[in-house]
Amino acid sequence: MGNQFELRLSGSGGQGLILAGIILAEAAINSGLNAIQTQSYGPEARGGASKAEVIISDAEIDFPKVQDLNLFLALTQDACDKYIKGINPNGIVVVDDSITLPADLKAGKIYSLPIISTATDKLGKGIVANIVAIGVLTELIDVLTREQVEGAVLARVPKGTIDLNRSALIEGYALVNN
């Protein structure tokens, strides 16, 4: 067992967090690392809490789900409430700024960022909130580079939306760095 980084992305069904998980895992694989992505969801096609988990490692990954949560992302209150448990006391928590975190939360770092409003207001497309979030996470996950992530994003999104998605990424980077 080598170094392993475990993340959980959560939000409501339809926010594209599974896609976000896939993109991060692909970026990791393209970087020569190992990665695994799993998900869990309810009966709702839209709404309802859903989560995607990604494990990145430089070695074989046996258990495919998160055991030691290094990074937690939530875009909705519901999802945050439901899925935050298990965060490592030194782990990173990233939530949309609309979310109220549990009072007793223990985490290494907490980022409350205007992810959704960046997408809706700044970029004019709520649908790219997940890409903004990817931008954020890229800055927080050591093993991922902007290049690999951008490549993975552009390979997965429809042709006509490349510019929009690139802007979303950049806004995401900025959210962390500002």
């Binding site: 067992m1 896939i22 895992a25 692909e26 694989i29 190992n34 990665a35 695994i36 992505q37 799993t38 998900q39 869990s40 969801y41 309810g42 009966p43 990954i61 046996d62 258990f63 495919p64 789900k65 055991q67």
Partner: protein, 378 residues
């Protein structure tokens, strides 16, 4: 040899890729979570290779059309999940008795009934063996990873064609839906088995086994051999018979396809078994959880290992028995309430103490559950 493509792939996607590599040319099915991506992938890819995809009106029609495709000479597959697998049972028996090669994928979700449709489970393992009425041969395989999904789909096709029998691929939802790294082998790295055709110039005896052959040779409809296929017991010419002698010959030959070829059919994996005092038996995604737990336990000096059936039916009896004699305790871990466990118990008899860890509430085990259980039974 060209470089292998490395990519992130979903288990269900890998199933389609493996099927195509194995020569699948026909898919008929009906969508159901968590298997639908297999139908979707087949719909997209098959016409590109000259194959055919059809979404039928239900699962019964799905398997029926797939059998039809196979009879027409195409390597065929259908895919489903619990409720659809139940519906397909009658025609699984048909394919077994009429000896039609076919791959049936059941991506296992939480049952019974509609149950927990988006949750994982391993609750259909006994059904794979016993779901249809009457005695019949069964081959069932449970992959644990995306890579295995690929290779075991290839193997499922090979076995189906080689043994002229339906082969059931039984990934659990975790394996079907997870995405992980896979190195896709190049075509020339794979051994592909194509069904044997009648020997030209010889009289064709549709259900007669030629000297040296494993099973009767299979002419595709339209290839110039006009013969009869039926789900009734039949003689060597394929015609219905009520002769108990002929029926006995037939059913015994069907069963012998399995019992005489265990070595070829059985596949399993061992992990740290050489010095193990406790053996975990687990398969599919649960085996990965167990492996993680074993690593943790080993770190504490506990001598635990794992036997992982990949072919779950026929069950690896000899390997299990041999290891059972070595260890003191056997712990079966399954994502159900005790299914393959019964077979392990039957095999292990009093050779080792048997323990079981199972659940069927839609949630998966985490490694610490297994660690805890092992410590309990120590």
């Amino acid at each position: 040899m060209s470089k292998r493509i490395v990519k992130l792939m979903q288990g269900n996607e890998a199933c389609v890729a493996g099927a195509l590599a194995a020569g699948m040319k026909f898919f008929a099915g009906y969508p159901i979570t968590p298997s639908t991506e297999i139908a979707e992938g087949s719909a997209e890819k098959l016409p590109e290779v000259g194959g055919k995809f059809i979404q039928m009106e239900d699962e019964i029609a799905g398997i029926a059309a797939a059998i039809g495709g196979s009879i027409a000479g195409f390597k065929s597959m259908t895919a489903t999940s619990g409720p659809g697998f139940s519906l397909k049972q009658e025609n699984i028996g048909y394919a077994a008795l009429a000896e039609i090669p076919l791959v049936i994928v059941n991506v296992m979700r939480g049952g019974p009934s509609t149950g927990l449709p988006t949750s994982p489970g391993q609750g259909d393992v006994m059904q794979a063996m016993w779901g249809t009425h009457g005695d019949h041969p069964v081959i069932a395989i449970s992959p644990q990873s995306v890579t295995e999904m690929y290779y075991e789909t290839v193997r499922a096709f090979n076995l189906a064609e080689k043994y002229r029998t339906p082969v059931i691929l039984m990934p659990d939802e975790v394996v079907g839906h997870m995405r992980e790294r896979i190195e896709i082998p190049n075509a020339d790295e794979l051994e592909i088995f194509d069904r044997l055709k009648p020997v030209e110039g010889e009289d064709y005896i549709p259900y007669g086994v030629r000297e040296g052959d494993l099973v009767p040779r299979m002419a595709g409809f339209g290839e110039g051999y006009r013969y009869h296929i039926t789900g009734l017991f039949h003689d060597d010419m394929g015609f219905p018979t009520n002769s108990t002698v002929k029926a006995g010959v037939k059913i015994n030959r069907l069963m012998a396809k399995i019992t005489d070829n265990l070595e070829d059919l059985i596949s399993y994996d061992e992990y740290l078994m050489d010095d193990a005092e406790i053996m975990i038996v687990a398969y599919g995604s649960t085996a990965r959880t167990a492996k993680n737990a074993i690593n943790k336990l080993r770190a504490e000096g506990i001598k635990v290992g794992m036997l992982r059936p990949i072919t779950i039916w026929p069950y690896p009896v000899e390997a299990t028995l041999a290891r059972a004699k070595q260890v003191n305790k056997v712990l079966v871990v399954e994502h159900n309430l005790g299914q393959l466990m019964l077979e392990v118990e039957r095999v292990v008899k009093s050779e080792a103490e048997l323990h079981f860890l199972g659940r069927a509430d839609g949630d998966v085990f985490v490694p610490s559950d297994i660690v805890k259980k092992v410590k309990e039974v120590l």
